[in-house]
Structures are given as C-alpha cells and as structure tokens.
Amino acid sequence: MDFSLSDESLMMRDMFRKFSKNEVEPLAAETDRTHEFPMGTFKKMADLGLTGLPIPEEWGGAGASYLDFAMFVEELAKCCASTAVIMSVHTGLGCMSTYLYGSQRVKEKYLRALATGEIVGAYALTEPNAGSDAASLKCKAEDKGDYFLVNGSKIFITNGIVATTYCTFVKSDPTQGSGRGITCLVIEKDTPGFTMSKPVAKMGMNGSPTVELYFEDVKVPKENVLGEINDGFKVAMGLLAGGRVTIAAQGLGIGEGALDYTVQYIKERQQFGKPLAANQGVQFMVADMAAALDAAQLLVYRAAWLKDNGLPHNKEASMAKKFATDTGMEVCTNCVQLMGGYGYCNEFPVERMMRDVKITQIYEGSNQIQRMIIGRETIGRF
C-alpha cells in the first residue's frame, strides 16, 4: 500500500493551497456577507487552468486526476466553502456530465468552454416534490421530433444564477415508472421560456447563490441529450457517485479549516491563568477531531483513487460523503464550542464554517440516503 502522492500532485497541492490562502480566504467573510457569486475568483481559477481539472487537455481541461480535483475542493473549502461548492458543481457535474455522457457534437458545443471556465455549468435534478426521491421527478419533456418541449421546475440549483449550461433531468416518458423514462438534457440559459427565481435565503453557503428554475414550453434540441433518451437516471446517479467524492472533500476541508483556526486560538486564549490548550479536556477534544478528520481524508482519497483507477466506488464514495460531512459538522460544532462566545460571533470564521458545513450533510444525497446506499451494498440481496 502506497500513500504517497506523485510529484505533480504534490506540486498541484502546493499551488491549490497557496491560491486558496492568498486569493480565496481573504474574500470569504465578504462573500458570505454580500451573498455574491465570486466571479473574480472564478476567472482567476479559469486563468490558472483550475476550472476543468479532471477533463483531458484535448477538451480544454488540465488532465489531472479525480484525486487532484478532490484535493483542490478540500483546499478551497478550508478557506471558503462557497467557492468550494461552486467548483465542485461546475467541474464535477457541469463539465463531467458533458465529458462522460455528451456526444462529440455536445462536447464541441460546450465542453471546451466549460473546462476552460469561459462559461459556468449547473446541474438540475432536484424538484420541489422530488428531493431525496429524485427518481420521482416530474419536470416534463415531450418528444417533438427534433426537439424536446420542456415544462416544469427545478429547485435549489447551485451556480444557477451565473450558469450557461444546465444539465437538466426531465421525465420524457410519463408512462414509465419511477426512475425510468427520464432523459438528461443540456439546457442553455436564455432559451425562450426558461426563467429563474431570485436566490433563496439560506443558513450558509451564501457566496453560492441557489435558485429555482422554471421551464415554460422550452424547446431543447435533441442533440443536447446526454446519455440515452429515457435512460437518463443512470446519468444522474453516475455523476453523483463522483460528485459525492468532492462534496465529501468539501465537508473535510471545512472541518480542517475550522480546526486549524481553533488550534491557533486555544494556544493564545488565556483562562484560569493558562492557555485553553493547556487543559487536557480541550486536548482530548482536539485529538478526537484530528483523528476523525484524518480518517475522513483517507476515505475521501480512497474513493477518488478507486474512481481514477476505474474501479467500483459507489459504496466507497457514499461512505466518504457520509463520514467526511458528518465529521465536518461535528468538528465545526466543537470548534465553535472551544472558542466560546467568540466562536459564535461572525467576527471569527468558525461561525461561518458551522453554518456552511451543515448543507454538506444534506445535498448530493442526504446522509440518510448515503446510509441507504451503503446499507444496500453491504447487506446485498435477501
């Protein structure tokens, strides 16, 4: 067993770290306050070739591994969780959907522009009445020969406000049951009949505006189908198995960022005539957090490694997602606890981190759903 990273990966990680510390962290509090998509940062990432990490160079990507991509999301999340989810969705779902499931024509139309960060990608699966039970989605698409006519809505769409392409799941054959008769379409912004809501007010992830999408007689050309017509749920699930790895990396990174900050704080904050860190009760909390984060990192990297090596990783990605995001939540809660009243005030970053990390346990399949997947795979048929 070899736990070492290649020279390139190490060089990348150094760069991700430096970039996140110098360019992303200084904007995190401001982004949280203004609720604005950090387009300036996105452009900087595009210039450095960071918007399409695991996409091959021939399509404008960096030709890096999924593990490199997960490390990038982790480093971003240490500094700004909103920026991390933007990148996780843009690359992991927006770029990957066209790369893995798009025809040559679709790739030429969108992939290079997505991978080079010229345009932003979004992923629209969730509906008001189809969240965890995404298979029951209702957004309707009628086959009109050379195009689909789409009617319905999607909710909670990350990057929705700035995206150009929306990888959208629609019910193309209502006679088929749940999870079947679904098609995945790339819908372009500004297509007539396609509108969206204002960003919804949320607990955290404020730098990543989330919107509702409305489709009223939206015509989508047939060439924009990803995967097979009526077999799109496979596309949705295939993408989420990869997406979960970077959401796991996000939960991990937020936790690491919170712990790093808190460790510095408890060394300086004096109570009872000594630093907080001098109390064994505090040290044990730090030890538990450090060990849990390390375990989470191993699960995340293993899932990414399996994916890179073309090995099955559905269960492992779910394990990483569940464990890393639950750990991130627990760590952030404990970090706020260790910083006392200061931890609860928004002058200190752990307050934001605790608000941000909560959603990592919910989106891209809540952790209950991850447990269902892990349970199913572990128990098998009976």
Binding site: D7, E8, M11, F19, D47, E57, A62, A64
Partner: protein
Amino acid sequence: MKVLVCVKQTFDTEAKIELKDGKIADAGINLIINPYDEVAVEGAIQLKEKGIAKEIVIVAAGSDKAMDAIRTALAMGADRGILVQQDTAADEFARAVALAEAIKAENPNIILAGHVAADDGSSQVPTRVAEILGLPHVNVITAVEIAGDKATCTSEADGGTQVTEVSLPAVISSQVSWNEPRYPSMKGIMAAKKKPVATAAAAAAENKVKILEFSLPPAKAAGIKLEDEPEVCATKLAEWMKNTVKVEVK
C-alpha cells in the same frame, strides 16, 4: 538572450525549526523554492514575455530534493534546469564555487537570483558568484530595464532609490518587491515534467566556515501590560526598562 536563475530549496517559511542531535531537524518539513528566488524566476519570465529573454535556465545546487525547486520554476515557465549535486552541508563559498562553475558552462547574458535565502539568510551567494566569475553585481533590485547589452537596475537605498547601469553579462539579485510571482498554472505543472533537467557534479571546494554549534534563540519572556493614564504608564514603563530589562542609560 539567455537568462539563468539560481534557485535554492528552503524550508517553508511557516515551518517550525527544531534541533535534533545538535542539528536542524528536517524530517517532515515542507520544502519550498526560496521566496526571494521565486521573485527572480518571475522576473526572468517577464523578460521572456517582453521578448528580451529567449531561454530561461534554472540552476540549483543541493541534494536531489532541490529538484522540486527546479520543477516549480519550470512549472512557472522556465525552459530547462540543471541540478548541481552537492552536499547540503556546503557553505556559501563552496555553494558559490559550484554554481559559478555551472554558470560558466552555460555562458548566460543575465544571471538572476534572490538577494537572500529564507533559511540561513546569509546574503552571500550572488555576490560571491559575481566575484568568482569576474562580473558586475547589482543587489536588491526592484526593477530592471534591458537595452542592448546594458541593464538599468533600480534598487533600494537608504531613504531613496539607486539607479545603476551595468554592462551584461552581470549578476542581478532581486528584492521581494520587484514583482508578484505567478502561481504555476495547471498547464505549467503538466508541462514541467516534460522539460529537461540535467544533473552535474559540483566543482570541488572546501568549506571556509566550520559550524561549531546550532542553538535556538532564547524563548521570548512574557511582556507586561500597562493599563493606566498615559503619564503613569510612561513612568512605569521607564522603571520597568531600567529595573527589569536593565537597559543601560549612558
């Protein structure tokens, strides 16, 4: 024009320095390209972007670990590297001899370096290299203009700036304020492994400095906090300086 940049692999500036068996412990320490040299690399790349430099050659002297510093410079945009294999215990003199030998073989028009290394901070190597090669040396520069075979360098001087014109070839060492080094792009990182790096043996040279002992600076004692009216604070501070710190007043 050929620009050669000397780079050193140093400890991460955030690394915690510890002694083990009387030596500086380097296990588990993150190594980086000396931040001052990184500025010199950026300066070279900007000269290339302006069409002045044709080729950028990176030279590092040290152990195999110094290869990472070379690769980082290549990822930023340099063209090729030379690793001069040398014992890490080499002092500034031996280091300069080894570098000068490698530089001579390359015959560059401009030799750039950081003015100081972030680890031992001795600020000697560029000056020594210039001396050995019999070249002019301009130090702590914050800007450089190249015209023909002349370089006009701006450097920091007490209370102002100094402008120096030198004929090339010359050794020019950079102050950090010269520029803002770029991040290596993903393209750069992927291309770096394909760029050639040669290895060379270091020219023989005896150290001139013998290290007797390493010791850490004494731990900083806790300060005092005075909370009172300004005049009272001033009096108390003066007393504390006189009686506790024992500042001698002559």
